[in-house]
Assembly symmetry: C2
Homo-oligomer: 247 residues x 2
């Protein structure tokens, strides 16, 4: 977890509604309450925590605003299936991006290596120790043109299933999004001229201006994944929308 988030973490003892919020969040993030599952009713949670329904309501309302659960009258509260976590910094999965352009999508895995985390990796992803990781390189195509180069580290301590995953069905990004929900993310975005290797892989001339996006995600303190996406040229645009009051 990055320093900026650590600094924000409160050390004060949590109020009851914060505790309820945290415990439910933890159950959702751990997968104990899987997507689609109905969580206990307000009155059940109120009985469990020996508190009034209002206190539970405050916690559940916040979870709903954060997009972790969906609340339906008469039906109950359900863990969200496709968490719309990237609502603010819109980075949809690459397949949707390509298909939105009207092009056919495919991807290939260029390299895949299982190894132990090195100090250099921890520099890229804080919270990554010397545990096992998967190091992946992936190329995404839009029709017959390379669309994006993906260089990724996956922390196997956090997502052990990734060790044997072939990523035949879904690219690593989508696979992880469905499997390892995150609580905080950081993006670093810059324009970079393509170096020789990346230029060749993206079929552009060396030095072409590329949009390089590095994304780090954590679940609590645990590092989930680091990815560097390189989009060739100025065709790709990253869009971020933001309103301080979420409504």
């Amino acid at each position: 977890m990055p320093q900026a988030f650590k600094a924000e973490r409160t050390t004060a003892i949590p109020s009851l509604h914060e505790r309820i919020l945290g415990e439910i969040e933890a159950r959702i993030l751990s997968g104990e309450w899987a997507p689609g599952v109905r969580i206990p009713f307000e009155h059940e949670l109120a009985a469990h925590y020996h508190c009034s329904r209002m206190t539970v309501n405050k916690a559940l309302s916040e979870l709903a605003k954060a997009g972790l659960i969906e609340r339906r009258r008469k039906a109950g509260s359900f863990v969200m299936r496709a968490p719309s976590r990237s609502a603010i910094l819109e980075i949809p999965d690459i397949k949707s991006e390509v298909e939105a352009l009207g092009a056919s999508y495919r991807y290939e895995i260029l390299a895949r290596r299982r190894r132990r985390g090195a100090p250099a990796d921890a520099g890229r992803l804080e919270g990554l120790g010397e545990g096992p990781i998967v190091d992946l390189t992936c190329r995404h195509w839009a029709a017959k043109k390379p669309f994006c180069l993906e260089e990724r580290l996956i922390n196997l301590s956090a997502t052990p299933e990734a060790a044997d995953e072939e990523f035949a069905e879904a690219p690593p990004g989508s696979w992880l999004l469905a499997r390892a929900p995150w609580t905080s993310a950081e993006h670093r975005i810059r324009a970079r001229p393509a170096d020789a290797r990346r230029a060749a892989l993206l079929q552009v001339s060396a030095g072409t201006a590329c949009l390089a996006i590095e994304r780090r995600t954590w679940s609590g303190e645990a590092a989930i994944t680091y990815v560097r996406l390189t989009y060739p040229g100025d065709a790709h645009e990253l869009i971020a929308r933001f309103s301080p009051l979420q409504r």
Copy 2:
């Protein structure tokens, strides 16, 4: 206001705490309650709206989470001085950026024109009509190197004071941030090779990869400003942090 925000807008009649929230937000955004000013106490607002303190508390707590007000026990609630609106997509004002690098900062206005909005402008900033606008070009320096090129439109219908402003004290970005708070913003980020004109202004060779950031801001439905920032080369990095549960 962009479509995406319009679609989110609820047409349902607001609940009481939503109405209170909205009315206080409007007074802050209009400047009626200026930064630093103390807004009425919870019990005063409860009396004014003929409701319980809890209902007022819900509205004020949300405003505090959104960063529009600061709450202090025994003292009251105060309109925030420097709204930390860019908490998620960190784009601090350019002066701070440069000084954080340890370089001396200065900026100059290269062009400044007052004119009426044209259809082409509305394409850049939705909600901009045919009213008067200011069209600015600005160059920011870090020590003796150009740091950023700023091309900006300011909607004078929303911020009439900008008409006669010389921007001698503060660059337009900081000036606007202090004067015209916004409720929603959109960023578009891409890597672009510098064209001849921009390359010359930024003192790089034509074709150099640049980070181009377009930012649009609105206050409610009203367009405030459009700005295109061009950072030369790969020295500049844009950082965005995000946690769904704001705490």
